[in-house]
Symmetry: C2
Subunit: 546 residues, 2 copies
């Protein structure tokens, strides 16, 4: 398959095709010719394109060095005067342009605007001798459906793709803290796939372009993995921060809902109360996750958005405490693929001999039922709105869209049906909470997905992330340090499938297919225990990588 | 009208009538003959029956003295060994029996069970020399739809009236803190009136039995005003704690939702997410409100109920701070009756000359729109469930039930309609929050109702309480110390009505009708500012009563 075919966007009728082409032309034209990679270069890319920025010759050594830093380092260096906002934004902007050409990760590129803001920030710093806020000069990439004033954004369909009239709370706050915007990133049709294929194109996984970077914040994960950004903002209603972060070897957190602002994020089911979408950072270090959260909570977003709970996670000191870590090898529904099992087994073995850790064999509680409830809540109108928006835009129904809005999980609800469904949700939450207490663990270590990054158009089991969405338990993913390796990740002898989903996902495994894909793990804690999630992840990662 | 006719319950068909009679017979038989008031006594009661317990001769001076104490005093005395649980429960039990006979406030009377528990607590205290918890030996009355194991409870209809299989979280926690249960209290058909008329009877306002004690926690307000209880637990989804507390001259708080447990409260619309019902105490002193909240939050209910936010209100020290108090004389929809205006004007005048207080003339923001949205959310199924439950029980549709489930406010919604309605709610909340900030007040002093207690079957404007339910702003009501007085509360010259509701409520005013009714006020703060509400109410009450 040619590279051009690989990144081909979702199709549609004539009017759709013209509109999609105009969007792609606009995006292509935003990337300056000086940053273009040649077509022959693109046609001869290796599967792993993470080395392209260093080898393509378009970045200076200084720019490469800047873009290898994490956000915490960048903010520190800018605050000390060792780095300017202009140099930082230039470096990440150029690298983002390169990243986009090899992964189709962007939907809007506006480096000029970013540089304008960077100059203002540098000027402020020179004049005042201090930073405007904790994110002064930090370039931050933003998922397409999160509005930035004047920039393109969409709610997952071509019909709601347009420039945004205003910043949303999140981007307004980030701006006030000193962040610089320069790109927006791709997401899938409907924003409800764990992949990222839209009218703009199909985003590829930089570690293996035959694989998906995950979704729905897959533009972010591909871009951050390419280091075209060191801090991205995503959203997660079923795994959309954690899945793509995991697939690309990043750190990504889904905070407890209604703690960070999502007001005015573009949505086509606004007002639905069945499940909530959380928002959070995707980045290359755990400390960057903390940097983002501390900066955001410090801005007291609940004073502006009355839907928010005025809570700031406090990070407990675990150094003097025995941490009880539940380990869940599988969820009773889908058996993880061999690479994931290998990483989990290794992690468990290391945790078992670590001081101050008590490992508990975690027994999952009715994950299939929980997943089924949340799937029903995703489209309480039976998918009617999705079909209408696709039809209005002349947009083809993506196979994953068709799957996600189809019966039996999805059906039309009237008010009483909605109440019954939400009652099932609340009953499940209560039972799960009782179960969690009985298990006696502080946090849970578990897979963020049944495998590494999936092959395109196959991600049909969200249970490893979505179960925590229905429960609203905060969760962070992080790289285990391992990658899928066909020489060791051979098929294991297994019995009969645990479920239909298990049978389907088992059929997808082929040791060769996933080569080079990062293997990531997930740490979960109870609702509102976001601080514990952060503290425990740090302890667990240190042990696993020791 | 004979006394018997005054307290007559809701009617229905033959099967309903038999069932209702059985419920009333059961309740009557629970009250020991030694505590019966004679029929001639009942037929010659004054309008104000608050003096009955002292004058009827059924209580000893010691019992009268105990029941005049507030909950804080009782807990202190029991903890010091100056009072026993048995004596306390006996006194309140006897007084509750008397209260019921003159106000029809109860639905279940089980003093024996309460005394059994009281004996256990006294025994524990003697043995261990300490209390089991902060509410050791305190008799607490419980609204009918809040389950107590083995006791009668209902969801507002005869068809769901039955003994409860188990305690709910609230009663389980209260029990663990040392509380003693002995009565349950009346609520209206549907639990959605600001009055309290059910199959058990019509609850009367002890200060003027021609008036309603308010609702839906009107059994509680009548009982606590009669001092047949010093601490009641109610619920508030539209004013159901604050309205009855106000009408009976009590202290009652509606805390921010999802801070105190309502799990397993009997409901016929379980799973609806449009608005939430809060729960809280109704009592005779502000410090008793704090006692209840501190005890409950101290039990960390969020560890058991995953829907709860693990927050404990902190009460700010206002002594060194200028408190900005908004004063709202009317909500732009319904002009308060003369007694309420008199109390507000007096309060405002005193606040204006108080040191450390800045009075702000608060401009209401679209209260009619907010009230209309919350009314639509009360019955998103168009009232279908209510009609079904009434029909299944052969229960007459109460005129206030018919009103509350009727168009245009109430109509059938499918899932998409529900989303749109909730979006209207969220948009309103955001706009109101912006408006509140612009007004620049810390707290708001406003009417809890357009007047004092209403005449039976007339309470059709909930705007003064329900507006804070849609916003989820915590609010406390407290007695101004004034009572309706026909000699001063004469009709004022007014212009044309502000709304249909205004015209209706204006037509209800007659200076003679409301004689003796307490005039109460309400203090409101932003969502989650429950601690500020408590602190500010104390300051404001002190100034107003100085």
């Amino acid at each position: 398959m040619s590279f051009r075919a690989k990144i081909q966007g979702v199709g549609g009728n004539e009017s759709y095709t013209a509109r999609a082409q105009a969007l792609k032309d606009r995006l292509d034209s935003q990337i300056p010719p000086s940053l273009h990679l040649e077509q022959t270069y693109l046609d001869n890319l290796p599967l792993d394109v993470t080395g392209v920025p260093a080898s393509c010759g378009l970045l200076t050594p200084a720019e490469l060095a800047i873009t290898e830093l994490d956000a915490t380092s960048i903010c520190e260096k800018i605050a000390k005067g060792e780095l300017t906002a202009v140099n930082t934004v230039t470096a990440f902007g150029k690298r983002a342009a390169i990243a986009h050409q090899v992964t189709a990760c962007l939907t809007d590129f506006f480096l000029d605007e970013g540089l304008q803001r960077a100059r203002e920030l540098d000027e402020y710093y020179r004049r005042e001798g201090k930073v405007v806020g904790p994110l002064h000069g930090l370039p931050i990439s933003i998922k397409d459906h999160i509005p930035i004033k004047g920039r393109w954004g969409s709610g997952g369909f071509i019909v709601n793709t347009k420039p945004s009239a205003d910043d949303c709370d999140m981007t307004r706050i980030l701006r006030s803290l000193g962040a610089v915007f320069y790109v927006k990133t791709n997401q899938p049709q409907t924003i409800m796939h764990l992949e990222s294929h839209s009218c703009y194109g199909r985003t590829l996984n930089p570690h293996n372009t035959n694989l998906s970077p995950g979704g729905s914040s897959g533009g972010e994960s591909a871009l951050v993995a390419m280091k075209g950004s060191c801090m991205g903002v995503g959203t997660d209603g079923g795994g959309s921060i954690r899945c793509p972060s995991a697939h690309c070897g990043l750190y990504g957190i889904r905070p407890t809902c209604y703690t960070l602002p999502t007001g005015d994020y573009i949505s086509y089911q606004i007002g639905q109360d069945g499940y909530a979408t959380s928002t959070g950072p995707m980045c290359n270090s755990a400390r960057d996750v903390q940097l983002f959260l501390e900066a955001l909570f410090g801005a007291k977003p609940s004073l502006v958005d009355p839907s928010l709970i005025p809570m700031q996670p406090t990070i407990p000191d675990l150094s003097q405490k025995k941490l009880r870590v539940g380990v869940m090898m599988h969820d009773g529904v889908v058996m993880p693929h061999p690479p994931m099992l290998r990483a989990l087994e290794l992690a468990k073995a290391k945790l078992e001999v670590a001081p101050n850790i008590e490992v508990i064999d975690y027994v999952p509680y009715k994950h299939e039922e929980g997943y089924n409830i949340v799937r029903a809540m995703y489209f309480e109108d039976g998918g009617k709105t999705v079909r209408r928006l696709l039809e209005e835009g002349g947009e083809d129904v993506h196979p994953l869209s068709e799957w996600v809005i189809s019966p039996p999980h999805v059906r039309h609800h009237d008010a009483v049906d909605v109440w019954r469904l939400h009652d099932r949700r609340d009953t499940f939450r209560r039972a799960y909470s009782d179960h969690w207490r009985q298990q006696g663990c502080d946090v849970l270590l578990c897979p963020p997905f049944h495998g590494t990054a999936s092959r395109h158009d196959t991600a049909k089991y969200w249970g490893y992330t979505a179960i925590w969405n229905i429960l609203d338990y905060p969760g962070i993913v992080f790289p285990s340090g391992l990658k899928a390796d066909p020489s060791v990740d051979v098929l294991r002898a297994v019995g009969s499938p645990m479920s239909e989903s298990d049978e389907y996902n088992r059929s997808l495994y082929d040791p060769e297919a996933f080569i080079g894909a990062p293997i990531s793990l997930q740490v979960i804690a109870r609702r509102f225990d976001d601080g514990l999630v952060l503290a425990a992840q740090e302890v667990i990662e240190r042990i696993i990588k020791s």
